[in-house]
Amino acid sequence: MKNKSKKTSKTSEERRESLAKLLQEQGLKIYSELERGEFPKFSVPSRSVSNIVYDKKLRQYILGNAASIRSARNMSQLRSFTQLIWLAFFANRLVQEKKSSTLRDIYYSSQAFSIDFEDQPESDNIIVDLEAVLARPREDLHIFPEERSSVFGDLTIEYTVPGYEGKRTNLSDHPDGYLIGPSLSSAELVDTSAELVIAIEKGGLFTRFVEEKVDKKFKSIIVDTAGQAPRSTRYLLKRLHEEMGLPVVILTDGDVYGEHIAMVIKSGSANAAHLRELTVPDAKWIGVWATDIEKYKLPTIPMTESDIKRIYDLQKDPRYQEGLWKKELEVFLKLKRKAELEAFSKYGLTNITDKYLPEKLEIAKSL
């Protein structure tokens, strides 16, 4: 076991403290504006399409400089302004008390403070506003989405959530894997013997990998992204890469959506352009490529109209303008067929772990 360096990233405790400070600053700013008899205001970075730009240096989408002022003086903004300050207030309590909540919780919690959200999309939207104002993901604010993915492998963590402070767990102790939830997200990463992180799109394959001891055979931590990777999962991948120095490889279905799942892990999504700590720019997509479909003679199914439309859409994205990403899109478009990870089962249930995975990991070294 080796203890990896933690220099590249802050510890959970540091992050928590800096966030608390950020929240207090916002509170103080508004407090003093009120004291001076002024209507308080927030500057909210604009999330409109025109303000989302691709930053080649950061290798992800970021927000431009455009921002809008949300003022309590403006009738049409007063309500959402109050919602925003309430959310900051509520998140502050969550952080202070080390409690977590879900998006749906937020929607209902508001009602106890005479803050009314018309529906959950409205409250979800305010949460994104606050993320943009603070430039911190909602997970830092202890607000989590419902969907959860899993992780398995030799990784020792130390909890920071109340009641578990200091307690350590090894993530290879439970064969179904561990849910990537609030407590795991806020835990300190202590130690690992793994040399690699394998992110895989599907729960079924995740279980197969655990059964086939991929963690041991390839000295890896296996992460189930459960489709498009949730923020907490992407955040964990980033920490594994930065804090533990592990390379990340991604295995998806052989279709355009799979390719994009890999891309989002690597360089984020336009939806989260206001956040910068969710990407693993060095992550590598190792399959299933369009070219693999022919090479491994995988059974295929035809693409749908929307699959093809999606290819054309992605071809306009600046990240798909070169190399592997561009080439595979073109081949998908030529084939007009796709193959799932399970397609390897045609050649035996362990074909994917015995034959395909080692070959692709070898190729990945040269990517």
Partner: protein, 611 residues
Amino acid sequence: MSSSKESFNQISPSEFFYRNRDLAGFSNPTRSLYTAVREFVENALDACDQAGILPDVYLSIKAVDDEQADPKPYVLTVKDNGPGIDSKHIPLAFGTVLYGSKFGLKQARGMFGLGATMAILYGQITTNKPVVVKSSTDGQNQDEYELLLDIQKNKPIILKHNTKEVSKRGLSVSICLEGDYSKAGSKIRDYVYQTSLITPYATITFEDTKGEKFHQTKIVKTMPPAPTIIRPHPHGIDVETIRRMMVDSHFQIPTVDNKMIEKVRKELGLKKKNLNHSQIMEKANKRWPGLSRHVRVVISVMTFLKMDFEKLSKIRIDDLDVANKKLVYWDFGDSKSISIDLDQESDYYKQLTNTVQGETLISFLTKRFQRIGQATAIKFAEFANLKPEKRIGTMTNQELVKLSDSLQKFEDFLSPDPSCLAPLGEEPLKKGMEQFFKPDFLEVVQRGASAYSGFPFIVEMGIAYGGEIQSVGQTVYRFANRIPLLYDEGSDVVLKVVNEIDWTRYKVKNDAPLVIVSHICSTRIPYKTVGKENVADRPEIERELRLALQFLARKLATFMSKRGQAEMEKKRANLYSKYIPLVAQFCTELADKKKEPDYKKMLKMEAMVEE
């Protein structure tokens, strides 16, 4: 030769109307009942208007037999407090067609009082019951007549006539007619309601056959100024009208009766003396410049007759035929008609022909029309290529047509005199609408007089918004000469103008509760159809309507934006006092402070600034 023999019989006006009753609105029991109501109510209101009396009109419709199914006979009674009708005129007024007093050019609801006679005629042919007329002109004695109409002879048949003492002046007319109140009822109620709206100086009561009562006491206590009768505008007449005016303008040979002879003697200073013919002529020659026109004509006639006063009193002058130079008279003594030749060379001949040939064109134009002075008349004669001195009595048919056409085309006439119009006035209209709709906003406007084809008109309009108005979208009440127009609104010019306006420009939503009252006054309303329910879209009228509506809409927009602001302020204050305390509470905890910031001062200041 044809074996069939066509016979051409003259028919009486009564017969004519009987055969063409559809034209007058008596086509079926539903329409007939409604038309009859209108005719009598409008006659009552017109009578009061003309006499300057604030009208008090009572209308009742009662079924003769309640149990019977519609259509069935109804008794329709309309009672007013107007001037009444002289007893001797009643049989002719109610028992013949075409007997009326409403000739002349001024605005009135009906034209000739024909409609009422039509209703009586319709009642008589459907129920065979007489019309009952009660009239008191002095408020003390009342004449009551029961009349039938002899359709073939166009003569009244008096069934009953008696007099009694009463305490109220006015006229009451009651007819029995076949009608369908179950179908006509809603229209009649609308009519009465809208008539009350446009006649706010009248008290109107309506009792229907089911005992339902509508009563509207007068809202204003002053009559709108009465219209004056004026001469026609040159743009508004046709050849036939000119012909009639010319006949009218001929100076008539005065009736040579004893009274006239006395006058002639007086002017010649021969009151007591009896002179022979040549002595009289000698005297007349001396005094000629000082003689009146009538006397000159009589002297001229005497020249040709070669008679003295004694002889003159025994004849009747029948005809003066200028073209054939003949004078025809009736000799009472000999009981025969005598014709004599006129000497064309005589000075007196000229005097007579001037009289018979009528005025000069210039004098005809300046005296018979409005808006034509001496200068305009001369300019016009030049334009029409007619001699200014031309006697109108000598004009040929072609010249008449030329005159008529030129009168239409000449553009230098001033626009028609609107003094013959009787608009309601802004104040009464406003008060009426206020009482009827109790709106949040009300504005009225009376446009200046304008004219189309020589007919003057004035547009009055009112707009009411909100308050007790329940309707979704606009309700338009159309009036013409104080008559509500209920049918055919789809093709009406008022509706066209209202529909074309873009309400959003005036901050009015399309479903806003809005009432628009439009009143067009004119000596002739350009109705599209005989039914007289929709006004044609003459550009001049359309323009005035549009300007009136735009003016009102701008006023409404000002009101709406003020109201919008006030509502906004209130909403603002509410929102601030709801949310700012919350903001204070949250930021206090966020900032880790103990005491909340003092935001109350700010809210107060805000409230003051906004006020």
